[in-house]
Symmetry: C3
């Protein structure tokens, strides 16, 4: 199964997903085996919205496959964007230089537009309030590794569910699997969108909204925390939402020992645990999650830039 461009998480079939999981597991164990598979290939990372973490994850993934990278850290301010050039023209030109493009943009739909004019594979690394499909991929991979399955589990999404594209992307992906129960816990002003709810209904996924996080904690396998996205909402909305739903020493032990906390990071006050707990308690999975991003992106780049069917 080929993946020409990767724009939204719905593109991933279960087969493809398990193929990536398997490759990522193998890469983790046999890193050296993969150290030349993209030798001679060049990846361009075009970031119109800064994201050190995501960019460095993609770039390290490319380098560890033997490829190389050209990069722009803040295309919005530094590039021809200020001269009035369309993002499509940039993508088209860069697709004449590089073998693949990773694009992050502040506007929804940008990655798709880029893919329409690009001669080389385009990967969406986040487009405004749209999607962040490689995050969904690494989230799914983390769930699979941490609880041993991607079906038959309960997950609670907590926090800013209105602007969070990682939640949106992961929900679209979970819609492909069976017996998943989803709970949404968010401030009144940052509830999950109706597009997601309709999608989940259409795919027969069980979901509900709750307002008491502590009541839910003991019941779920995955707690997916998110940050209130201060930079995308009004000051009033932020003030109303901040600190509303928090994991700290007060409620941490309500979580079952086999359950896991995920977070797309960066986390701020919504997780407030002492360093010892964060480093040693198995239930804290978000740093393993971020490292999974490296291996799963290696699997993705290997397939897409290696043009494997």
């Amino acid at each position: 199964m080929e993946l020409r461009h990767f724009i939204e998480s719905q593109q991933l079939t279960p087969e493809l997903l398990f193929e990536f999981f398997k490759t990522a597991d193998d890469i983790r164990e046999n890193l050296a085996k993969y150290s030349n598979v993209l030798s001679g290939k060049v990846l361009a990372t075009l970031f119109y919205e800064p994201s050190t973490r995501t960019r460095l994850s993609f770039e390290t993934a490319m380098l560890r496959l033997g490829g190389s990278v050209v990069s722009t850290e803040n295309a919005k301010e530094f590039s021809s964007a200020i001269k009035g050039e369309s993002m499509e023209d940039t993508a088209r030109v860069v697709s004449g230089y590089a073998d693949g493009i990773v694009i992050r943009h502040f506007e929804e739909g940008t990655a798709r537009k880029a893919s329409l004019v690009s001669r080389v594979p385009v990967i969406n690394a986040g487009d405004g309030k749209g999607q962040h499909p490689t995050q969904a991929l690494l989230d799914a991979y983390t769930i699979y590794r941490e609880i041993g399955r991607i079906e038959n589990f309960k997950i609670v999404f907590v926090g800013d569910l209105a602007s969070g594209r990682t939640v949106r992307s992961l929900c679209y992906l979970l819609g492909k699997f069976k017996n998943i129960e989803i709970i949404f816990v968010s401030p009144e002003n940052l509830k999950i969108g109706s597009d997601i709810k309709e999608y989940l209904s259409r795919h027969n996924l069980n979901f509900r909204e709750e307002s008491d996080l502590n009541k839910i904690l003991g019941e779920v396998d995955i707690i997916y925390m998110t940050r209130i996205q201060k930079e995308r909402i009004s000051e009033e909305d932020y003030a109303a939402a901040k600190g509303k739903f928090v994991i700290d020493e007060g409620n941490f032990n309500l979580i079952k020992s086999a359950s896991r906390i995920l977070h797309p990071l960066p986390h701020v006050e919504e997780i407030n645990l002492p360093l010892g707990l964060e480093q040693n308690d198995k239930r804290v999975a978000y740093f393993r999650q971020s490292q999974n991003g490296l291996f799963i992106r290696m699997a993705l780049l290997r397939k897409m830039l290696g043009h494997l069917a």
Copy 2:
């Protein structure tokens, strides 16, 4: 013939130019043959004025030759420039680390100054209103590939001819060849400078200024469009010049089928063609032109950093 530094397009003799054309053609056909010729070499790109396109083109060129790159995307704001350091000191220091320097700066004459103190080859990637000689090189290469010759042709330069360093650089280069007829079409307030006109006269090139673009379109082999450089002129000058000379569906078919539109890109409203035309009509050459930049810069870096005589 050695090329120690590349500061202005006049340095290119016809022999050297054809050598680069030949190498670029060979690189295009036999990319793998060149994948190690600069192995172990490091190129530094020092951009005091952001230009994602030019920087990525140079960097990809270096990587595809097996070399590696260190880069600064916005040296003006990020570097010791804010501490009061002279650009020459930066260049001198960096020339102690790297094997070559590509410099882009907002002030005319900077690349030359850098070359005087650098221990390694310096390439001018645009210096204020001065020159952009590698653009001239890729423009000449594009003309050669598109119409099969770099002599005996007619070219019209359209747009902001006052601040456009690409036009200046290309004119200096065309002065080396025979039977070229040059027409300048520009808003009243952005006419070509007298330095260029004197240079062309001295080299016996035929040139004239015209004010009706449509009258010219059917007559020339190359239409070289340029953007009104908003960021280098006053608001008044911009308002007077914007939208004055445009290629769109209304006049596109005045262009002969063997003729070609070039543009150094980014283009904005001066070219306004539907996507289908831009992608499929042979007369639109500017995306091929930008890709030629990769191959010709590979030829240039190979010679200069490989210290080929």
Copy 3:
């Protein structure tokens, strides 16, 4: 002797220092021998405070050892820092991608904090008014190469001794050696801190403060000039300090022919010598000093990222 993280210059024992000097000398002579020693390794450079020179020096060092680099030029503005993320979380996450981290930050103590959560070696590339230990390392290496010894000499530190972390780091390092006489010459408002004076006393180093630079110039082996750090002090302090202590044609010849001027660079008006002198007079050592930074950082990275005992 292993060096897990490199946070402050006091970590360097004389044995370790001489080991680095020896390796750096060998690298200089036999560059090709080292071109693959870090093949497959990835270095992350996290710069929260821009410094083109230091960053490019580290990055080139890594590339010349066969490794590769992921980089952020201005993490302060571009990264999750603006989303409220702690630097420690960034370091922890990046330590899951890369094999080593070089960190530059505007706050004292940051590199140490990063080292506490990182899985991979952390190198301090300057932390606020704290330390800049790799600068001390290259300074010591330069003294050793230029005058043939790192003991039994006289050094004057000139300029902004209050905010200068390079002076602080070098003093801490010199405290490990014998028979060094230190003189401090600085504007009244930018004197060396009492922490350094106490440290030197404790280590039985001879030091004194003087106010007449010209009186000292003929007496010392090393003149270590520093820039008044405009960006770290008030306008009043800057006005009072600027131009107070300068090396120019007027006093240059007071310097003994075997003595050397060092400067961590960038230099501004505190050194005002004609280009001919700067390029040809042996006493001007600061451009050799900056190049020494490349070789000594190669020695450092080779040891730390190669995990050599």
